[in-house]
Amino acid sequence: MWTFLVTEVMFFGGLFMAYIAYRHAYPIAFASASQKLNIPLGATNTLVLICSSMTMAMGVHSAALGKKKALITFLILTLLLGGVFLGIKSVEYHDKFVHHEVPGPNFQFEGADPQHASLYFALYFGLTGLHASHMLIGGVILIILIVQASKNKFSAAWHTPIEMFGLYWHFVDIVWIFLFPLLYLIDPRK
């Protein structure tokens, strides 16, 4: 599982590298474009995701102790919090489409360096989109795990799928821990 997560670090790493290179090349465009994001929503989502990591950690903990009921409760809580995150994210995406801030023929940007601002938004959608797709996949796996747990598939002696999924879910949380300051908080003082 860890080997898979290392390949995931590389997967996201390429996009982070593109972000570093372009932010370095066009700092003004990145600062002004990031001011279009909704910081309260982004911060709320960060907190929601941290809560979901906590419920997931408690889920793994319950599985290791063989507590079936607690395991299912924590998995459902994790799923719900993941759903809240994606719900808030979709509100943010909707705002971006409404305000023509999606790169493409209808891109409109009033602010410093509009040409390169679309690069920022391309990376914003690339990074958050890849992250959100990981969450969607995570949600599907969570539903499968909840069904399996309710069928008594896991025990204190064997709950490897729960542990592996916990690692995946925490990894996705870590990606967001970096995305939040890098995308939302470049220069919020204006």
Binding site: M1, W2, T3, L5, V6, V9, M10, G13, G14, F16, M17, I20, A21, H24, A25, I39, A43, T46, L47, I50, C51, S53, M54, M56, A57, M58, H61, A64, L65, T160, E163, M164, G166, L167, H170, F171, D173, I174, I177, F178, F180, P181, L182, L185, D187, P188, R189
Partner: protein, 99 residues
């Protein structure tokens, strides 16, 4: 996989609360003008938060050396990627001026 080490729930709560507090700190400190150190502070907090998640939520602190090495390798190779890409991008004006 991770040895059957049961981490006390107290530790999970401590990590959880630290993560929440540090998120608020990240958001607030971004409004303070520190010049280029805003980025440094934001990344230092993010790396600290990620370390908390990796060490405690992901049980790496209680894992074998093999697991620790694999985890570290992911970040080492990302650092290699950034190092060589940026040493190219940052020196283009010095090595090939006017291009």
């Amino acid at each position: 996989m991770s040895a059957d080490h049961i981490v006390p729930v107290k530790i999970y709560w401590a990590v959880f609360i630290s993560l929440l507090v540090l998120t608020v700190v990240t958001a607030l400190v971004a409004y303070v003008d520190l010049g280029r150190f805003n980025l440094v502070v934001a990344m230092a907090i993010a790396i600290f938060k990620a370390s908390l998640v990796i060490l405690f939520f992901m049980h790496v602190k209680y894992s074998t050396k093999l697991t620790k090495t694999i985890v570290a390798s992911g970040f080492v190779f990302f650092a290699v990627l950034v190092f060589f890409t940026m040493s190219d991008l940052l020196t283009r004006n010095i090595t090939a001026p006017g291009r």
